[in-house]
């Protein structure tokens, strides 16, 4: 099938060009699917629903899908076996892992992640990943099988109300009831997933729709009359923002995930450096601005730096770029940023003034709004403000003693040294996540991937696998071979690691040289920390030490290399050994001290400047 081969090349080439441009296709208001090839060459051919689905996915420029077969989707898998398609299918080992892998892929590449699962349990197993993608605005299209339309509502085998279950955790969802809608629905799903505020879209596919036949008509354009989003900000609002910035004496850029996902990281960096406005990022904003820069204050919020929170509390202007004033950022909202006026730039109107009312609202894409704002803002004299910040940085820096204990923070620092910051770090949830956010010092957008909104344990391993596939494919498709070969590091605690460890088999099967770190403190560390600090050391059900598996043996059972490190002097050696493994994942278990806590910390319900900075000052705050 030569035409098919040509087609495949074409899609890959286009996807590669799109990735190489770097600016996200989110920013374009019209249908920016560079995958729309004018009229599709297969238009007019009679196909089954399964074939239409696969050809439509291919036409979207997808290079990999993560899935798990089952009765309701067996027809799709059958066609996948027969057809020569422009994308590969990765068989995950649990549907939740599939959704996280698609999330990791989307976060690393900026493209839409694709998942294909069967009905019933296949769909419900995806729910956690879909909810995760919804809260973190990750573009995902999840195809779920469904029982035949005549059985819907009959409590049939492996039936569940997928659209009902996923309604409140998706940007939109579809139940395909007419095969003639299928191609259009697929195109719309990808369009809704990646444009506006990105997010997950579910497409539920009854089995009879997949078996029926229709003419393949892949639409060239998307036309959804109820869906629109601005890219440019309102000119008057942008001018007002510029005036507010000109007036401010202690301005602070508060940068969130929208900056990274819209591809505005480099613009923001240039803007901050030129105007001399300091920058703090949220957990998802990490990487938008290089943390080595003197203007960087690192992360703000509950486990942010002390100096970032001090700056927020003292700033007279906060410029929020693609951030949503989450409760983990604001703490006690009534006392948050008491002196600051607020400029809020966000693509989602409903996000603006949701938690904290903005003085100046700009609905638009960070990428374009920064373009509009930049020429209106003169460089500022922030010297005395920066001097104050420098003092705060000296007062309470992020640090960790280098002593005889194997401390998790020092593992993160060693990984930073090994990679010089040029890596993709995918964290799990809890203490490991916060240490990875605090101590790695990120320099590039998309180099930090985590489950921030939903806080899903078990995220890291599958998401890292997805990110690794994304990078591998981007390298394969990059005609200029300029996509760097970045190591993908999965950072886990011993609790979360076990939640999706089975996905290591997938990485091993494909020879992905993932670097998996387990910071094993024998406990559910973050919960243990709260129990120690706020629950009088009643360690209820957080001790895993005596029942943990042998992680090295487990790694080897999953065809990975297993390494164990129990002493701080071996950290570097262990990492070096892991980096020598190039044909499979290397799992490094670090037996870290269990008493280590994440500091500084804003206790729940406290104001942002009331941080616990060490065990010693706990009583002062309380």
């Amino acid at each position: 099938m030569s035409s098919s081969a040509a087609l495949r090349y074409d899609y890959h080439h286009r996807a590669a060009t799109r990735a190489a441009v770097g600016t996200s296709f989110l920013s374009n208001g019209s249908d920016s699917s560079a995958g729309s090839p004018g009229s599709h060459p297969l238009n007019g051919q009679t196909m089954t629903g399964s074939q239409i689905l696969l050809r439509a996915i291919e036409a979207e420029g997808v290079d990999v899908i993560f899935g798990y077969p089952g009765g309701a989707v067996i027809g799709i898998y059958d066609e996948m076996h027969r057809l020569d398609l422009g994308f590969e299918h990765i068989l995950v080992r649990h549907e939740q892992g599939g959704t996280h892998a698609a999330e990791g892929y989307a976060k690393a590449t900026g493209k839409v992640g694709t998942v294909l699962v069967t009905s019933g349990p296949g769909a419900t197993n995806c729910v956690t990943g879909i909810a995760d993608a919804y809260l973190d605005s990750i573009p995902l299209v999840v195809f779920t099988g469904q029982v035949p339309t005549h059985l819907i509502g009959n409590d049939a085998f492996q039936e569940c109300d997928t659209v009902g279950i996923t309604r409140s955790i998706t940007n939109h969802n579809y139940l395909v009831r007419d095969i003639n809608d299928l191609a259009r629905v697929v195109k719309e799903a990808y369009y809704i997933a990646r444009t506006g505020r990105p997010g997950p879209v579910v497409v539920d596919l009854p089995k009879d729709m997949l078996a029926a036949t229709a003419q393949f008509e892949y639409p060239d354009e998307v036309n959804i009359r109820g869906y629109s989003f601005p890219t440019q900000g309102d000119t008057a609002a942008v001018e007002q923002a510029a005036e507010m910035i000109a007036r401010a004496e202690k301005p602070l850029l508060y940068v969130g995930g929208g900056t990274v996902s819209s591809g505005a990281g480099p613009k923001l960096t240039a803007f901050a450096r030129r105007t001399r406005i300091p920058v703090t990022t949220t957990l998802h904003g990490i990487g938008a601005f290089p943390e080595e820069d003197e203007l960087s204050l690192g992360m703000l919020g509950m486990h942010g730096t002390w100096y970032a929170n001090q700056a927020v509390q003292n700033a007279d202007l906060l410029i929020a770029v693609g951030a949503r004033f989450d409760d983990r950022v604001t703490g006690k909202i009534a006392e948050w940023a008491p002196n600051a006026e607020i400029i809020h730039i966000d693509i989602d109107a409903a996000c603006i003034s949701k938690n904290v009312p903005a003085n100046c609202s700009i609905q638009g894409d960070a990428f374009h709004v920064l373009d509009q704002l930049d020429p209106l803002v003169e460089p500022k004299d922030t010297e005395s403000w920066m001097r104050q910040i420098a003092e705060w940085k000296k007062t309470c820096p992020l640090e960790c003693p280098d002593d005889e204990f194997l401390r998790p923070q020092n593992v993160i620092k060693a990984l930073r040294e090994k990679t010089n910051g040029h890596a993709i770090v995918v964290t799990d949830v809890g203490q490991n996540q916060m240490w990875a956010a605090q101590f790695f010092s990120y320099v590039e957008p998309r180099s930090h991937i985590t489950s921030g909104g939903l806080g899903t344990m078990g995220f890291s391993v599958p998401a890292a696998i997805g990110a690794a596939f994304g990078l591998r494919n981007a390298r394969r498709m990059d005609p200029s071979a300029q996509t760097p070969d970045l190591p993908v590091i999965s950072i886990n605690g011993d609790g979360g690691f076990l939640m999706n460890a089975q996905e290591l088999v997938v990485a091993a099967a494909h020879g992905i040289p993932l670097k998996v770190v387990i910071l094993n403190n024998g406990h559910l560390g973050m919960v243990r920390q709260w129990q120690e600090l706020f629950h009088e050391e009643r360690y209820s059900h957080t001790d895993l030490e005596s029942t943990n598996p042998d992680f090295v043996a487990l790694a080897e059972a999953y065809h990975c290399v297993g390494l164990r490190c129990s002493h701080p002097s071996d950290i570097k050696k262990t990492i070096d050994e892991a980096w020598e493994v190039t044909d499979r994942p290397a799992v490094m278990e670090f037996r870290v001290v269990k008493e280590e806590m994440v500091f500084p910390m804003v206790p729940a319900g406290a104001a942002s400047d009331q941080m616990i900075t060490s065990r010693g000052n706990l009583r002062d705050v309380a």
Binding site: G164, I192, A334, N339, A340, E341, A349, K354, V356, P357
Partner: protein, 190 residues
């Protein structure tokens, strides 16, 4: 003396600052045009429970535009909450337009059916009450009468209140429908 910013933050945290109209809960009538597709109604209702918004009444029906239905929602909240309700409704893909008509000159109507136990002894009294409310008798049996009355909710409540002096067997209310008196562009021109 609170700064503007402190006032903002207190409001954000749901703490009252002044006994200000904006901080009180008010009833709002919001009209929607939405795709007449399976699940669209669900999406709207679901959003209210998902986000913890209050929903007092819903009515929905087809319009003159093919494939488009119109919905009138009655919800209660502070100005800040209502602004969120409107934005979240607008975010739904099936929503074509959202309009909070509360502040604008508008007409609102609700239809109500009331079935009352009635026999020869009180039929004329009941009919007399109904006439005052511009109601109509839509059904009569040897033991009951069913009245139809329409109007703004206060009128309906008044009618039901009067009928409550007798024996009400059943009440069915349609929920409110509302419409601006003028088109938005007319108001903008003024």
């Amino acid at each position: 003396m609170l700064t503007d910013q402190q006032i903002f933050r207190r409001r954000a945290a749901g703490q009252p600052v002044f006994e200000d109209e904006r901080e009180k809960n008010h009833q709002h009538m919001i009209t929607l045009r939405l795709e007449n597709t399976i699940g669209a109604l669900n999406r709207v209702i679901n959003m209210f429970s998902q986000r913890g918004f209050n929903l007092t009444s819903v009515s929905v029906g087809e319009t003159n535009e093919p494939g488009i239905s119109r919905m009138t929602l009655v919800t209660t909240g502070t100005d800040r909450i209502i602004a969120q309700v409107v934005k979240q409704l607008d975010n739904l893909i099936d929503t074509l337009s959202v309009d909070d008509v509360t502040e604008a000159p508008h007409v609102q109507r609700e239809l109500c059916l009331v079935k009352v136990a009635a026999d020869a002894s009180n039929r004329s009294v009941l009919t007399g009450i109904s006439d005052i409310f511009r109601g109509r008798v839509v059904n009569i049996t040897t033991e009951t009468m069913t009245f139809e009355v329409s109007g703004p909710p206060a009128k309906i409540n008044g009618f039901i209140g009067m009928m409550d002096e007798y024996t009400i067997l059943e009440v069915a209310r349609s929920g409110r429908i509302a419409m601006r008196r003028k088109m938005e562009f007319e108001e903008d021109a003024e």
